[in-house]
Symmetry: none
């Protein structure tokens, strides 16, 4: 997936249904979080302060296009009419019969559902009351978020962000193996990893210099000590450039030894 192009995920990300949202600011923040994650289909059920709501637009910033397109419905069942997998996020367990999942499991289910040709939505309740039991009963999957039991409340936009993020990660994993490889692989940029020969030559130079400087106080232990030094440097993925830098450092320290005792004839070239 090219930088700046999010289109590969479009068909995989779920709709978001906000049921009875109260503050316009929270609707705007939720729209931002959706856009962050690549969700675009926002549906509102009976927003308390009517619609459109200038307070939502004021805070939505780059997410305001989602507000412009948002569909408004009178009831959650209407908003979910075309939805084939409804995922309800609740703060507390309901003891209902549906499958309970954590956000990661639910995100995997959403993406798999889209890959199978279905249409999934995430359902969130209003700020004060959350979802009522009839709404929860509509859902196919109930999500509870395993946060700190002593402090588990999220605001609406945070809950949308967290679920959207999980869906995004699942979608990235699913949409294109290569895209995910790029995203997950440590970015080496210009950092072509050093070949073993390059490393070996560096170790040889290093060993000569530190031997000459009296590093190996016990000659019998020299192979073991040197092996440990190599192991230390081998713990990190040195690039060709890194090895050049290390050679430069080594030469400069060597010159500094001359500079300290014989400043007049130090070689700064």
């Amino acid at each position: 997936m090219a930088d700046g192009d999010d289109s590969a995920l479009t068909g995989l990300m779920p709709a978001v249904i906000l049921s009875h949202p109260q503050m316009g600011e929270n609707i705007g923040s939720a729209a931002r979080a959706m856009k962050n994650c690549g969700c675009s289909d926002l549906r509102l059920v009976a927003p308390r302060d009517g619609w459109p709501n200038p307070a939502a637009v004021a805070i939505a910033s780059g997410g305001s296009d989602l507000l412009d397109k948002a569909a408004v419905h009178a009831a959650t069942s209407d908003a979910a009419a075309d939805i084939t997998l409804l995922v309800a996020t609740t703060a507390r367990k309901r003891g209902m019969a549906q499958i309970e999942m954590n956000p990661r499991q639910a995100a995997a289910a959403v993406i798999a559902h889209h890959q199978a040709g279905g249409k999934a939505a995430l359902l969130f309740g209003g700020e004060r009351a959350g979802l009522d039991n009839d709404e929860v009963a509509l859902a196919n999957i109930i999500v509870t978020v395993p946060l700190n039991p002593a402090f588990s409340s999220l605001n609406l936009a945070q809950a949308v962000l967290l679920m959207g993020w999980e869906c995004r990660m699942a979608a990235l994993a699913a949409c294109d193996g290569h895209a995910m490889d790029d995203i997950l692989a440590p970015d080496q940029g210009d950092h072509k990893l050093a070949e073993h020969g390059t490393r070996a030559f560096f170790y040889q130079m290093l060993e000569e210099k530190i031997a000459s400087g009296g590093f190996f106080t016990n000659p019998d232990m020299r192979p073991v000590v040197m092996r440990n030094i190599k192991a230390m440097f081998n713990r990190f993925p040195l690039s060709e450039q890194d090895i050049r830098t290390l050679h430069g450092i080594m030469k400069s320290i060597e010159r500094s030894g001359k500079a300290i005792d014989h400043a007049d004839d130090s070689d700064q070239a």
Copy 2:
């Protein structure tokens, strides 16, 4: 883990360092997000409006105990002095030498690091400017969040929530196994990880010596070059023993410089 008991995660969750945060409200919201996820160690670097800040307390709600305990430092390097794995979250890629990860990979690294007896922290920049390059250079891991490229900005509390959530999920996964046995009795062997203060002293010695040896051919570039060198060494988890070894190597190379030009007065002691 019993419901309502978050104590099993306590030793696995990272500290959070907020560098130069501006709005007290955002510090309070970040503290809430930390508490949601089970993080408790908050450190502030030069908060713009001083500390304590009533605006932070007003919004922190149940997270205000984190604010009461928060340590305030003048510089990020001070805040990270006892940290052995520093994870910087940045909005854009920096092209620096450290390992880049997404939040999920970084969370796995944090938990594994704690299981090995280390101490990790998540580092976040201020609202306006983010982290400066010197702060990024301190980090062992750079995290970029693969959000919608056309709309990728998160506010501070959202970034803290997202990273905290990923660490929490990784910690819960670790606790589900028999990982707790290892956590309770970490066997570090001789490999106690170096604290940042130990690293900082090594870098200082190294800089003095290579400067004396003429490494910095362009004095204007010295800060940038030195930052890249630190970033290179920060890519791997150096132990206290490793740092001692590096000091020994440095001294020996220095002596070898004298030995080559002045074999008669070389100091092999």
